[in-house]
Amino acid sequence: MTKAEEQVVMRRAAAGDREAAGMLVRLHQRSLYTYLLRMSGRPDVAEDVTQESFVRVLTNLDRFDPRFRFSTWLFTIGRRLYLNWCEKRRPASNTDAVGATGNESGRPEEGTARRELNVQAKDVLQRALMTLSFEQREVVVLFHQQDWPIWLIAEHLQMPEGTVKSHLHRGRRRLREAMSAIQSAPSETLQEAWL
C-alpha cells in the first residue's frame, strides 16, 4: 500500500469506518506482534501490547502527523507501551541477564508463566535474542526482521546512525555466540540456564 493509499484508508478510519480500521489492523498487526514478541519473548505480552497500541492509534487518528508513515507511528506507540509494561511488571523473561530472574530457588513459579517459558525455550533464536541488551535486541529486530533502514531506526530510537550500527554489530555477534552456545549445550542444561 502506498503512502497516499494508506492516508485515504486512515481518513476513512478516522471518520469511523470500521472496515478501513480493520484494513489497517490486518496490514500491520503481524509486524507489530512479531516485533513485540521478539522483544519480550512472551506471546501474551506481545498480544496485549499489540492490541493496546492499535486501540490507542485508532482512537487518536485525528492527531496523526501525515508526514510520517502509519507503521512508524504505530511502532512508536507500541514501543512506549512495551517500555511502560517493562517498568511496571519487570517480566521474568524480559531481561538481559537471563539467570537473574525467578524465585529464590532460581526457578520461576509453576503455572502459566512456566509453560510459556518452556514453549519459548524451544525457540533457540528467541532464547539467543534474550541474551542481547534491550537496545541491541531492538536494533537487530528492527533491521533484520522488520527490514527498517538504519536511518529510520536511528530516527525512531533517537540515536545517531553510528550508534545503531554499533548495536547491530555487537548484537549480531552476541546473537551468533549465544545461538552456537545454546545449540551445542545439552537441553536440560539449557533449560536450567534459561530458567
Binding site: 503481524r30 506482534y33 498480544e47 499489540t50 533464536l125 538504519i150 547491530l168 549480531r172 546473537l175
Partner: protein, 263 residues
C-alpha cells in the same frame, strides 16, 4: 525499501573499539547492506574461509529472524476495543455526517458571500461604528416623547454628492461655506470628519432638514443654539460625515420647533 540513505557516508567503527579486522568490517558492511556481493571488498574477503564460515552463520541467523512466528488474528478484538472507546459509524451515518458538513460549509460560504455582496452594494448597512443619529430622528423622537436629549450627540452628515460637478468643485470654496454654516448650528466642541464611506448619492437622499452648503455639499441642521463660529481649515477638510456635539448640555426639554428653524 533501501536501507541506505542517498549520499550517506560509512561510519568509522574504530571509535567503538571494534575489532577492525577485514572480515568483520566487510561482513558488517555487507549485512548492513552498505556493500554488495559484487563489490571488490566483499570478493576479497570472500576468499578467506573464516569469512565464508562467519557469513554463512550470520545469514542463517538473519534468515531465521525474518521468519515470522505464528501471529494470532487480533483484528476482531482490536476493533471491538476501539468501538468501545470510540464507536464506529455506519456508512449511512457517515453519509449524513458528510452531508451535514458539506451543507454547513456551503451555508458559511453563502453567508460570507452575502456579506461581501452587501458590503459592495450598500457599505453603510454593515457599518459597525456607532451609527449617527440623524437630526430628523432626534426631532421626531423629541416631538413624540419630549424627553430631555441632554448630552446626546447631534450628528450631521456632510456628504459630497457623487456627481461630476461635485468632484470638480473646488474644496477651498467649500470649506468657508461649511464653516459659516456650522457657525449657525450652535456651539460645537467636536467636529469629526470621517472617511467618505457615508457619501450620499444625491441631495434627495439626505431628506428634510438638511441644508445644501455650496455646490455638492449637504449638512444637517441642528437648530439654533449658542453662536460660535467653527471653521474647518480647508486643508483638514475631507468630504464625509461630521459629528457635532454641543459644548453644553442642551436645555432640558427641546422643542422640536426650535430645531427646525430656518438657517
Amino acid at each position: 525499501m533501501s536501507k541506505q540513505r542517498p549520499g550517506e557516508h560509512h561510519e568509522d567503527f574504530t571509535e567503538f573499539g571494534f575489532r577492525e579486522i577485514g572480515g568483520d568490517s566487510t561482513l558488517d558492511k555487507y549485512l548492513n547492506q552498505e556493500i554488495s556481493r559484487r563489490s571488490p571488498e566483499f570478493r576479497r574477503s570472500f576468499q578467506q574461509a573464516a569469512f565464508r564460515e562467519e557469513l554463512g552463520e550470520m545469514e542463517r541467523i538473519v534468515d531465521s529472524l525474518k521468519r515470522s512466528p505464528r501471529t494470532p488474528d487480533l483484528c476482531g478484538s482490536i476493533l471491538d476495543a476501539v468501538h468501545e472507546r470510540r464507536p464506529f459509524v455506519a456508512p449511512q451515518g457517515r453519509l449524513w455526517i458528510s452531508a451535514w458538513r458539506v451543507s454547513a460549509a456551503a451555508s458559511l460560504l453563502l453567508a460570507l458571500g452575502g456579506v461581501a455582496l452587501v458590503q459592495r452594494m450598500r457599505p453603510e448597512t454593515l457599518d459597525l461604528s456607532p451609527s449617527p443619529r440623524p437630526l430628523t430622528t432626534v426631532v421626531a423622537a423629541a416631538s413624540e416623547t419630549r424627553v430631555p436629549i441632554s448630552g446626546s450627540s447631534v450628528v450631521g452628515i456632510v456628504a459630497e454628492r457623487m456627481t461630476g460637478q461635485a468632484s470638480s468643485a473646488p474644496r477651498r470654496e467649500a470649506a468657508p461655506l461649511l464653516g459659516r454654516t456650522l457657525a449657525g448650528l450652535g456651539v460645537v466642541r467636536h467636529v469629526e470628519v470621517l472617511p467618505a464611506d457615508g457619501v450620499l448619492a444625491s441631495r434627495d437622499s439626505v431628506g428634510p432638514g438638511w441644508q445644501l452648503v455650496g455646490d455638492g455639499w449637504a449638512v444637517a441642521r441642528t437648530g439654533s443654539l449658542k453662536q460660535e463660529a467653527m471653521v474647518i481649515p480647508a486643508s483638514g477638510w475631507k468630504p464625509g460625515r461630521i459629528k457635532l456635539r454641543p459644548v453644553e448640555p442642551m436645555p432640558g426639554t427641546i422643542d422640536p420647533a426650535s430645531l427646525i428653524g430656518p438657517f
